[in-house]
């Protein structure tokens, strides 16, 4: 990839982190208006991640809602360390896991397939992505989504998922290999 883009991307990521930390700080001080920009910056990451854990779009939507409520109520516990996204994803993870536990206890969770979860009016392009994601194992899918959508580095994914760094890298490489292959099939469909 061209170097300037890469450095711009990195710069953007750093700016976004600073921006997010500002929002969290404002929330901690009771300024609820900061939720708007925080929501906009993180919604796709939070939703995609919830979807990858819960595999059910309405559950993921509920989890997403709870996640922002929790972010608001625990904002005062965030210690600025330049990694607000990691914190937000941990909040999302906690919410999803407890939801998952509840659902499993009640045995109500029916897994949707990725086709139905990515259903929109613009169905054509999403179908390819759904197909691609179906090729991946659960772990691979989570790694890809965290890397792609939340912009996590391998090291951060390893910390978040409590996996060895090497495992994350191997799985990511393997997942990308699969995606490259199935990308074409989606295109041909």
């Amino acid at each position: 990839m061209p170097e300037p883009c890469e450095s711009i991307c990195r710069q953007n990521a750093a700016n976004e982190a600073a921006e997010l930390e500002k929002c969290i700080k404002s929330l901690a001080e009771g300024d609820i208006d900061a939720m708007g920009p925080l929501y906009e910056m993180t919604k796709t990451s939070v939703y995609a991640y919830s979807l990858s854990l819960l595999k059910n779009s309405s559950e993921a939507e509920d989890a997403m809602h709870d996640c922002y409520i929790r972010i608001n109520s625990s904002a005062n516990r965030y210690k600025p360390d330049g990694k607000p996204m990691a914190w937000i994803m941990t909040v999302a993870k906690n919410i999803c896991l407890s939801r998952l536990r509840e659902l499993k206890k009640r045995a109500e969770l029916t897994e949707e397939d990725w086709h139905s979860m990515l259903r929109t009016d613009d169905i054509q392009s999403n179908l390819h992505v759904a197909e691609m994601l179906e090729m991946l194992s659960d772990t691979e899918r989570q790694i890809v989504l965290m890397h792609t959508i939340a912009g996590f580095k391998h090291r951060e994914i390893a910390e978040h998922m409590k996996l060895p760094l090497a495992t994350v890298i191997t799985k990511h490489t393997r997942a990308l290999k699969k995606l490259r292959k199935y990308y074409r099939e989606g295109e041909g469909a």
Partner: protein, 583 residues
Amino acid sequence: MNEHEIDSKIRDAFASVTPDIKASVLSDCKQKKGKVIAMSNTSNNENKKRPVWGWIAAAAAALLLIAAAPFAIRGAQGGAKAAAVSVMIDVNPSIEMTVDSDERVIEAIPRNPDGAVLLDGMDLSGSKVNVAVDAVVGSLLRRGYLNELANSVLISVEGADSTLCERLRGELTLDVADLLGNGDFGFAVMSQKLSDDPTVSGIAEDYGITVGKAQLIASLCAADPAYDVSSLAALSINELGLISGRKTLESVETRGTSSDRAYIGREAALAKAFEHAGISSAEAGNIEIEMDIENGVMVYDIEFTAGGTEYDYEIDAVTGEVIKAENEPADTQAETPKPTAAPDDSASAQHIGRKAALRAALAHAGVSESDAYDVDIESDKENGRSVYDVEFKAGGNEYDYVIDAVTGEVLRYETESASGSAPTAKPSSKPNSSSYIGRDAALDKALAHAGLSLSAVSDIEIELEKDDGSAYYDVEFRSGSKEYEYRINAVSGKVISNSSEHAGDHHDHSASLSLIGEDRAWEIALRKAGLSMNKISGKDIELDHENGVYIYELEFRCEGFEYEVKINAATGAVMRFEKELDD
């Protein structure tokens, strides 16, 4: 087509389906502001109402004493005294007692519904705090809250006079330990002095748990940042005691051992792990067993080494199911490899085991076991189905199989000419992979050589490669705008070669690298396909970099077929040719 295009496709897909719930989030946040969360207990109540034990008589005696005491003391007592200390007792019922400077209870307050049940009909006001605590413990036993499955008590003391707090904490801990020590199911008494850390009160408020339990959870999280508060908050004091286990927690003193009789037990868990690994207990060394929580499930976390391999298991503490099974070559070379067979979990009830999965893949590929090398088998899940991901090399080809872990059916497979310009010859003698330093160590060596820390680099790729019988790790990473490539001897860890260059678009390198060029690549690909340029459609060419080799990846379509060709960009050799029906 490259990684970035895939990335942006995935991003777009999720962006287009992300629901818009901003309005409801904002309105709920506004409502939530200032609202105090009511105290409710989240621990499991299933251990209540256990049989009563004979020795509870001792505790009952203390209770009788309490029943009589208030009259005497109340009579003597003038006005109410100020609270000097708070003593909190958590089992599942949670109770807080405010205590004056004479160590007499001012008030006993239930902190959850079970606490209210426990205190019903008991008047502890005016009693000496140690007598009151004995009475509470007696009641906990009598009502079955403390039993052979859950025998843990948490005592938390809070107050401005830290000498008094510390003394009370010590005395009450001994008292309760003495009382429970008479029983036949062991006990665990954890005690702590509460700090006024706002984080702790925040946890208590958020999860509706007592401050004492919240501080214990905070201590656990401090000891191991991998824990998340929400899953710990859902646990009982006994479960928290089990997890604390042998961890040394700052500010928490533990006497006794929490009961794990509700679970299959350490021995049974270890046996499950051995069975899955296909080894006998005599072969295993360096065994470590800890209880832990994984996705809200209590597990035995088991580590051991056998035959030069490190095993890491997580066994469901209730069902005995193997939740996680990982193994890798032991990192330490010092370890003497034992002459054991490769791990084989064929004994596992549900899964066919790694060996059988490999056999299925080999049979399908028509490769004999002795011809396969670089074998890598991972158990994985795909759409809820357990699978084995089997990779191996043989005869210059790379194979990647996905095998159903239960039926052994080949679900998918891929074959690819082994990376590199020419098919690698099979090593004459298979290197013993257990003597490799491991990927992490290889990365460390490369980073040390480059003078970089792990946090300074990104886009790390590590591959184990073998050539002429010697093995090495190809390590690639990026730091700032520089790309590094290292080749590390897989046994000695020595840096064999290294290079670094400024990252840039690969296409920019084409000239300087004396590649064959895209036109030539098309020529080669079309000749191989027996087609001409004007017949094909959907053309795509991309220069890629795999394992240190520049490759042109070409795609095109013709007469209902889709073609994919990989060509060594330096030599023009066709490394892969695929033609399939374009559906």
